[in-house]
């Protein structure tokens, strides 16, 4: 309906993105009907969609870093205006909707939030009747998300219809007037989200009650990982420099590092995993041993294992078999003198597949043939299966379906119950709240004070994500006493 903000809700893999791509013309449907303004229509490509008045803001930006804002927008429009005209329009529309941007800035110099504004501007300049947004707040702090909502409400009030794809229930309930829920490729309901609760929406999405978060019975032990005074200049102009990062991780605990993407998470993870060995001496210690300049293999030998955010191409080699992929971080199949024991590698892979429920044709299956969820299960299994003392993880359940996500969270919890320690860097606040006992926030390369999850509120975390630490009184630092902590 014109002026409606319509949410499309569903968990990962339910088909939201695919449906939107069909509407936008990037993908062709196999069957079914589309009607636009009452008339049936078949959309073959994005150009046609744009001509009809449909605009889409993707989750993964289609931007060109070496070009300016105006040029980027220009390329997304039909060939009607000159470059100068576009530049003027960009400035005008950006002021109108509170999305301030300068036309002449290079996209490479923009922050993630600003880049999203370019995408939105590009969509707005086509004067759309329908604006589709795919998971827009994934890269925004709660405060920035609020500002986006203001803009969206303004647009809706002017008669533009908005389709808002998300899996974040709070946002949908706050912003949208209608909501269609997708599950496994089918629409299972159409409701008014303002009248629903999180729980009822959740049940619609999943078809059943959501799985209970793992119950933790942790006993805190010695300091497993200590980071102190970790300052690291960035390795290229586009990166973020780390400034005086310090944290303490004890055995038995799960510490979460929250933050919006692009604030130093990648740099921190690289410094911890050993891919970046420039950390100052003594700044990273595993059970007291200095590993600041140690290679990944040395860190693994001391019990630190790492699960990267990129599963394909970094956590695994897509062209190699699963048995070969075990060799990336496990040494069991390597014999003396460097000879490979392929049978052992295969058996190791097979045992991982079995224990972690990886759906694959067998240890000889090529990693690239696995679905995202299964590949992640394999990688998590590979690292947890090595019984690490410290597990560092980046985005453990991003993009995964509920079942896989739940399994991975259970395993991490079990690892820590058995005496391990885990550091989870994630952009998904819900996940961190569910799994961790304490949280820190990383913003612009600095860490906020530490806070227990039960004391943290999304508003406070949101504030910290913008870099404003120490505004409200921070609660006491790391709990000293060991004890049983139940986590409901």
């Amino acid at each position: 309906m014109p002026g409606e903000i319509h949410a499309v809700l569903g968990e990962n893999g339910a088909g939201k993105s695919t449906l939107m791509k069909i509407i936008y013309g990037a993908v062709r449907p196999d069957g079914g009907a589309l009607a636009w303004n009452g008339a049936p229509v078949a959309i073959h490509n994005p150009r046609q969609a744009r001509a009809l008045g449909i605009a889409m803001v993707f989750q993964h930006f289609a931007l060109f870093e070496t070009l300016t804002v105006a040029e980027n927008v220009w390329l997304g429009l039909e060939n009607k205006m000159t470059r100068a005209q576009v530049a003027r329009e960009v400035e005008r529309v950006s002021r109108l909707y509170g999305l301030e941007l300068e036309s002449a800035r290079l996209v490479s110099s923009l922050s993630v939030g600003e880049r999203q504004r370019v995408e939105i501007l590009r969509a707005l300049l086509t004067n759309p009747q329908l604006l589709i947004l795919d998971e827009p707040t994934a890269v925004l702090t709660p405060q920035m998300a609020e500002r986006l909502f203001v803009t969206l409400r303004q647009l809706a009030a002017e008669g533009c219809s908005i389709v808002y794809i998300s899996h974040k229930l709070d946002e949908v309930r706050a912003l949208c007037t209608r909501c269609t829920v997708l599950r496994a490729g089918r629409a299972v309901g159409s409701v008014d989200p303002r009248l629903e609760t999180n729980r009822s929406l959740s049940e619609l999405m999943l078809g059943e009650a959501p799985p209970a978060p793992p119950v933790r019975t942790a006993r805190l032990g010695d300091t497993a990982l200590e980071v102190r005074g970790l300052s690291l200049p960035s390795s290229d102009e586009l990166g973020v420099a780390l400034a005086d990062i310090g944290l303490v991780l004890r055995s038995g605990e799960i510490l979460g590092v929250a933050g919006v993407s692009g604030n130093g998470q990648a740099e921190l993870l690289a410094a911890l995993s050993g891919e970046d060995r420039r950390a100052p001496a003594g700044s990273i210690r595993i059970y007291g041993r200095d590993v600041a300049s140690a290679a990944p293999r040395a860190r693994r030998a001391l019990g630190l294992h790492f699960i990267p955010e990129e599963r394909i191409g970094r956590g695994s080699v897509p062209g190699l078999a699963l048995s070969a992929n075990t060799l990336l971080t496990r040494r069991e199949p390597v014999r003396r003198g460097g000879w490979l024991h392929r049978g052992r590698a295969r058996r190791l892979a097979a045992s991982l597949i079995a224990r972690f429920g990886v759906s694959a044709r067998g240890p000889d299956a090529v990693a690239g043939s696995l679905s995202g969820g299964n590949l992640q299960k394999f990688i998590v299994g590979r690292e947890i299966g090595a019984a690490p003392k410290v597990l560092v993880v980046g985005q453990p359940t991003w993009g995964l379906d509920v079942g896989a996500a739940a399994l991975i969270r259970r395993e991490i919890a079990a690892l820590c119950d058995a005496g391990g320690a885990a550091l989870i860097v994630s952009e998904d606040l819900e996940e961190l709240f569910e799994l961790c006992s304490d949280l820190v926030v990383i913003a612009r390369g600095r860490l906020s004070p530490r806070i227990a999850v039960r004391d943290a509120s999304p508003a406070l975390i949101g504030q910290w994500m913008s870099g404003l630490f120490g505004e409200t009184g921070a609660p006491a630092p790391v709990p000293v006493a060991t004890g049983v902590e139940a986590h409901a």
Partner: protein, 302 residues
């Protein structure tokens, strides 16, 4: 010697500008040597049947030959998605072999006498005439081409689009642009230019045909694009510089400088290496200027 440098440099510049368009779109065509040879041969073969004012048809034939080979490369590397390096190499090897094979018949055939080079009355001006206007039309065409490409890439929308495709074909595709068609067009243009450059060698610069006439200049042209950080004006600069270096070698020999001719012959190639090292040293700079998707296969829908 300046004149000789400009002539020598024009060969490199013409090929280099073609390859520039290629690479700006993100495609690395290592078949430059093969395309230049085929162009040289095609031009020569055609010229044997022509005379006087119809010479330009020979150049067209050469451009066509280069374009055809580039189209073959494009069909494989862009259309089907084969490895760009290997396919380009195959093109070069095939071009070398085929031109040697088909050209064997032409080795002893002589072209008719060359007319005077240069622009019609301008060259007859006293003093500056021969110096500035006495060159083959293709020399001037190359300079114009460099200017035109500069305008194209930085002022026109299609040029902008091509640069965008070179940086991120995925994003361009998401916006609905026809990435593969654009890349193919760029590649074919590049091939045509290489063919032209080859014809310039066989028809004007050396005015004969032998096996392996191009002697590595195709590869130097490839190095030129890196040297010029993918900017048209710098390609001209680099090309004339290299042309000069090649001429320097002959010049020294003429002057009786007592260095063995073979050692002198190494100069252009060693110079290329030195230049490459100097340019590549600053990794950040390269990343800023190099088309980010250069050499990567793009498959829509993947």
């Amino acid at each position: 010697m300046l004149a000789a440098s400009v002539n020598a440099g024009t060969v490199l510049a013409l090929a280099g500008l073609g390859l520039l368009v290629n690479e700006r779109a993100g495609v690395l065509n290592l078949g430059a040597e093969g395309m230049m040879l085929m162009g040289a041969l095609a031009g020569y073969a055609m010229a044997l049947h022509l005379s006087g004012g119809w010479m330009f048809v020979a150049y067209l034939a050469a451009a066509g030959a280069g374009a055809a080979m580039a189209a073959l490369f494009g069909w494989l590397a862009i259309g089907i998605g084969t490895n760009q390096y290997a396919t380009g190499l195959a093109l070069s090897l095939f071009g070398v072999g085929f031109s040697a094979f088909a050209g064997a018949a032409f080795v002893d055939k002589q072209l008719p006498e060359r007319g005077r080079d240069g622009l019609p009355w301008l060259r007859d001006l006293p003093v500056i005439g021969p110096a500035l206007f006495g060159y083959h039309p293709l020399v001037y065409a190359t300079m114009l081409l460099a200017l035109a490409l500069g305008w194209f890439f930085f002022r026109s929308r299609t040029g902008l689009l091509l640069r965008a495709v070179g940086e991120s074909p995925e994003s361009a595709h998401a916006l609905g642009h026809r990435v593969r068609a654009l890349r193919l067009a760029a590649v074919v243009f590049g091939g045509a230019m290489c063919g032209l450059a080859g014809a310039y060698v066989s028809l004007s610069y050396t005015h004969l045909w032998v096996e392996n006439l191009i002697a590595g200049r195709g590869w130097i042209a490839l190095a030129l694009t890196t040297f010029a950080t993918w900017r048209p004006a710098r390609i001209l600069l680099g090309a004339y510089l290299f042309g000069g270096l090649t001429m320097l070698q002959f010049h020294l020999q003429e002057r009786g400088v007592q260095i063995e001719s073979h050692l002198l012959g190494m100069i252009p190639y060693l110079a290329t290496v030195v230049v490459l090292v100097l340019i590549s040293r600053r990794a950040a700079w390269i990343r800023h200027n190099m088309p980010a998707s250069l050499g990567r296969i793009f498959r829509p829908g993947s």
